[in-house]
Symmetry: D2
Subunit: 149 residues, 4 copies
């Protein structure tokens, strides 16, 4: 599957560790990781996935040179926040880590666009599915969402 | 000012009445109304503004022919939900009426993009300013936001 | 009608004069002028239209503050060149003045999107209609395109 | 490098053969192929690249399900023609095969955005570099563009 991971452009060391583990698990399961390609949660999840040999796709607001070092394929949109719509349109499911209003906007957009959203310590609004750690998030992905939404 | 009004594509008669009054007030103050150009809240606010002689700008997800009858100037993007970014980028402030995840997504995006957001019966999240009716919303617009955000 | 005018972001004094006259004629006929909102041809055509009391809509690649002083309604996309698609999607016909590759790109896009394109001293490719001055361009608009394309 | 290939959504058997060979050569050199992900030239070049074990990235105007069968990673934009800007922004160089106004629009946009454009039987305008077959196109890519533009 193509799994989008969203979250803050800056993050705490704990969140970074969670994001890295999530990236590693996604790669090990053969999922393609999609994210915004910048820093914070995006960089940490790419790092985890890349170091585990996974495919990391960064959909950037600006230019390719803005990508973090663990983005394998950089799609540069030059479209600012509108790139969020592409991230969601391109994925089968979203996993949300902690973030601020930008992250909330992506979560709400994903729900509007009928993508399942797993909240891993992020905003919890009607329609999101809560996971307490990366392993549980993967377990939810694996068993499917139909009965949860 | 260019004021964006967001809210559900379908709405109750009460919300419609509120939106129409809001449109009328915006027009009377000489503001340009920006919205998504479709039905529900968007149509009601356009109707109120148009009938009061205001400028109504609809930024549509698809084609111009999708515009409600009270859109004076139709900007057709063909870009789906990405048009929300244009609505926010083009406005000085956002007034949010009731809506679902799409509306929440616009509110959060507006906060991310540093636009003041007045919630008129809509989602209230950290950063939004609550107004209890259209008149209060206009009063907040008029006296400015600097001390509120 | 909503008429898009495209052309170079810098232009010669002669082209500026042509663009200003074109803007004036469009406004006098009650057409809404759509353009990219920046300098050169865009500024001159807005100036002509604005001074004749017309509606001028600038669809900007960046922010509203980038608009030339004769843009009446500024739509800021933050989407760079992708804003060209919105200009074309929003118009009934395109009038092209001299410009470089950016202008050619808009002309070709307009033809792809089935908009009539009048070339007023601009690129002439299969499908464009040639006009020798602004008055002839308006005459072509007025009598319709169906038998020309 | 990330190389964009543009051309018609339908094409002749000869052009298809050229596109397939081009895809194969790009993959053999380790380039990432970027294209619009649909039929015609896009499908043929993806097929050639995919069968040679290459990475094929399709940046689609609509949904992922519109992708041709040889797209390895599908980026769905839901943005129609605006996706062309993303294709160009994301690439180091463009190779253009025969196509109509849509292809011309992409060539002109690429030149506007300062990407080298190799014309392989496609539109030749000021600024494009002519190649007579896929092997010559690859040779031009390999030796660099600086002295050609």
């Amino acid at each position: 599957m193509q799994i989008a991971v969203v979250g803050g452009g800056v993050c705490s060391p704990d969140v970074r560790k969670t994001a890295e583990r999530l990236g590693r698990l996604l790669a090990e399961k053969g999922h393609i990781l999609i994210c915004g390609g910048l820093g914070g949660v995006m960089e940490a999840v790419c790092r985890g996935a890349k170091e585990a040999g996974g495919v990391t796709l960064g959909i950037l607001p600006g230019r390719r040179s803005d990508a973090n070092p663990y983005v394998g394929i950089a799609v540069a949109t030059g479209m600012g926040h509108a790139r969020n719509v592409i991230i969601i349109e391109s994925c089968d499911a979203v996993i949300a880590l902690p973030g601020e209003h930008g992250t909330l906007s992506e979560i709400a957009l994903a729900l509007k666009m009928k993508r399942p959203v797993i909240s891993l310590g992020s905003w919890e609004i009607s329609g999101t599915i809560k996971a307490s750690d990366p392993d549980e998030a993967l377990e939810i992905l694996t068993r499917g969402f139909r009965h949860r939404i």
